[in-house]
């Protein structure tokens, strides 16, 4: 392959071949390749744009209207009043803090646990297959199912965990509830984190670790000074994906607390306003605000870590 593509006459100096200057002329073949490329991408691109592009604009429009499906006659254009309403609501700010807290805590714990799990899977002498298979179960299982398992486990009378801890109804108080939600979230997503980190671990050449060992580095030093820096891109990608994902937390909260006792996340609050409250204006305003927050998170990650983030791009190569 390489030969045919690289031999495009990079002749040096006094080459006997009069090399024509490279012009931007597109041959038929090149044009056909472009057309085929566009044709093949069209269905995917159009679907994605149709289902996200217009709705995003539409939600911007909705967010500037008073639009309550319970009172459809009172629909009117109110500019940024919805934003004022939402941003001055203690419920909203509580939801923001709950979301941020859950995101930070769960992602931090997942990073540590996921790294341990990745190391176990990467280095295990025995039973590597079993470990990998079983850790995929939390990843694959339907979140709602897992959430119900945790809910029943903590339900007084029914649950083994509730019984073991003295039968207090933990899911009726804010802090214990959030801890349970965090636990459920961590249980479910640590394997995903671990898999991403494991792929990063595989990129660390064994020889390098051997060389470090010969240079007198202890196991911990090898991990901190060699392994972690080399797999930094993988860590950052894993963190980015998990942070954005954690920020959207909904399923677990819905099943475990339904947002009661001030445990709503931003997604939960939006859903409640929208589907339960049928208030499209407020719901859309929250949607837009969440979108902005996620964009900021993504921006910060990509800005901070530059080329480490995916799509920043070697889209075509690797």
């Amino acid at each position: 392959m390489s030969q045919t593509t690289t031999e495009d006459t990079t002749t040096t100096g006094a080459s006997p071949a009069p090399v024509a200057p490279r012009k931007k002329v597109l041959s038929e073949g090149k044009k056909a390749e472009r057309r085929l490329g566009w044709l093949l991408c069209a269905p995917a691109a159009l679907t994605m744009i149709a289902v996200t592009g217009w709705p995003i604009l539409y939600s911007l429009l909705l967010s500037m209207q008073r639009f309550d499906l319970k009172f459809p006659d009172r629909t009117e254009w109110i500019w940024f009043d919805n934003y004022v309403t939402v941003l001055s609501s203690p419920y909203w700010w509580n939801a923001v803090w709950v979301t941020v807290l859950l995101t930070v805590v769960t992602v931090a714990v997942e990073l540590v646990l996921g790294m341990s799990l990745a190391l176990i899977m990467h280095r295990a002498l025995v039973g590597r297959g079993i470990v990998r298979t079983t850790t995929l179960i939390p990843y694959g299982i339907v979140t709602v199912v897992a959430a119900f398992s945790w809910r029943f486990a903590w339900t007084p009378g029914t649950g083994y965990l509730a019984e073991a801890l003295g039968g207090d109804p933990v899911l009726t108080e804010k802090i214990p509830s959030l801890m349970v939600v965090g636990l459920a979230e961590i249980w479910k997503t640590t394997p995903f984190m671990a898999l991403l980190l494991m792929a990063g671990l595989a990129l660390v050449p064994d020889d390098l670790l051997k060389a470090a060992a010969m240079d007198g580095a202890s196991g911990w030093q090898r991990f901190i000074k060699i392994t972690v820096p080399i797999m930094k891109p993988a860590i950052l990608v894993a963190l980015l994906f998990r942070t954005l994902d954690a920020f959207r937390i909904f399923d677990n909260l819905f099943v475990l607390t339904a947002g009661s006792q001030g445990t709503s996340s931003v997604s939960m609050l939006t859903y409640n306003n929208l589907i339960k409250g049928l208030n499209l204006g407020i719901g859309s305003t929250m949607s837009v605000l969440i979108f902005i927050m996620v964009a900021i998170i993504a921006f910060v990650f990509i800005k901070l870590f530059g080329t480490a983030a995916p799509g920043s791009d070697d889209g075509g190569k690797r």
């Binding site: 030969q3 031999e7 495009d8 006459t9 024509a20 490279r22 002329v25």
Partner: protein, 394 residues
């Protein structure tokens, strides 16, 4: 079996880059021909054009007397061995070798027979049911060869087929490729960047540079009579030494001593209308320890005394390396050769010189040595265009 004729074959890429320029080449039936040159010289492009994997921009390609420019690869009846072997990972060795026959809708019994034959020739019989991933490099290479020979094509095209093997295996496979080609008598075009393969394998060698054929000839002829600096420097290992020199009244002055040109050389130089400043080329084996040369030869040749930089004893002979003071010979060809060898950015002042002395030489590393060279073996080149001023068709 067929002869292959390239008639002013040219490849120009859509962006205007000229990859191959007017290559003329007549490959006889059953001939083993080597395309050699540094990377980017157009040798693989030429091969791909013969294969039909790349379009020919201009000129004509005839296989067996028939124009095939417009034919798809599958209709040219030629087989190719790739550098990466390109074995189908989802097929066993047997299926890989049978694949071209299956595509040609050959009946089962014949397929079985041909695969069996090829496997025997290539010593693959016990591996037929394995997948490529379970084979060693050498075995994979043989499967790739097998896939090419099962269908008795008109010609074999080989694109650096041995370059993924380790050095020892490469030498071994080199001889078996050679033997196989003789045995089958199939026209073969073989691309390599390794001049040793070029020297040992081919009936004729085509040296290419920047898309242009530099010289075509038998390996020994290219070695003895390189048409220009590029061929001179490319063919031979260790390569020819190049020293700037001055021609004056039939005498040649340089840092390795002044010599009177022999009659043969002088006639050639005069006929070629040589400039005053030239580049002198001399192969390592044309040097000798002055102490081991008889008096008559000593007086007719050149002589210099210098400190031996490094001495390598190979048992059969000794290589003495020198670093002479002076400006290195400079030309575009030599620069490109250095770049290809990866030595263009190795720092070094002075003129490097490699000499091959007989094992009886008493030269010692670090000490001074008297070195003689054969004045009749000197080749002179024009620095402005690289032309060999001492070239003869003989």
């Amino acid at each position: 079996m067929a002869e292959i004729v390239l008639d002013k074959v040219t490849k120009r890429y859509p962006d205007g880059a000229l990859a191959v320029q007017e290559v003329n080449l007549e490959i006889a039936d059953g001939e083993f021909i080597i395309l050699v040159g540094p990377s980017g010289c157009g040798k693989s492009t030429t091969l791909n054009m013969i294969a039909g994997l790349e379009d020919i921009t201009d000129g004509e390609l005839r296989i067996g007397g028939q124009r095939v420019n417009e034919k798809a690869p599958k209709d040219r009846d030629i087989a190719m061995v790739f550098q990466s072997y390109a074995l189908y990972p989802h097929m066993t060795v047997k299926e890989n070798m049978a694949f071209p026959l299956r595509l040609a809708k050959v009946d089962n019994a014949t397929v079985e027979k041909k695969v069996k034959e090829a496997a025997e020739i290539l010593d693959l019989t016990q591996h037929l049911d394995r997948k490529p991933s379970n084979l060693s490099g050498g075995q994979r290479q043989r499967v790739a060869m097998g896939r090419a020979i099962v269908r008795n094509p008109k010609a074999f095209l080989m694109d650096e087929p041995l370059s993924n093997l380790d050095a020892k295996l490469r030498v071994q496979m080199r001889t078996s490729v050679s033997r196989l080609q003789k045995q089958l008598g199939t026209t073969t075009v073989y691309v390599t960047h390794d001049q040793t393969e070029a020297m040992t394998l081919g009936d004729r060698v085509v040296v290419m540079r920047g898309g242009v054929v530099q010289q075509i000839g038998a390996p020994q002829f290219l070695y003895d009579q390189p048409a220009n600096l590029f061929v001179a420097g490319f063919i031979g290992s260790p390569s020819m030494n190049f020293v700037p020199a001055t021609l004056e009244n039939g005498a040649l002055r340089s840092v390795i001593g002044d010599v009177t040109l022999t009659d043969r050389v002088r006639q050639l130089v005069e006929a070629a209308d040589a400039p005053r400043e030239v580049i002198m080329g001399i192969r390592p084996e044309h040097f000798e320890d002055a102490a081991l040369v008889d008096a008559a030869a000593l007086s007719s040749g050149g002589k210099f005394t210098h400190q031996v930089d490094v001495l390598e004893s190979m048992g059969s002979d000794k290589y003495a390396y020198f670093n002479l003071t002076g400006e290195q010979a400079a030309s575009a060809e030599l620069q490109e050769l250095a770049k290809d060898a990866g030595s263009d950015d190795v720092p070094g002042d002075g003129i490097p010189l490699v000499t091959r002395l007989s094992s009886a030489s008493g030269a010692v590393e670090g000490a001074s040595a008297d070195i003689w060279f054969d004045a009749d073996k000197v080749q002179l080149f024009d620095p402005s265009n690289g032309r060999n001023l001492t070239y003869t068709e003989r």
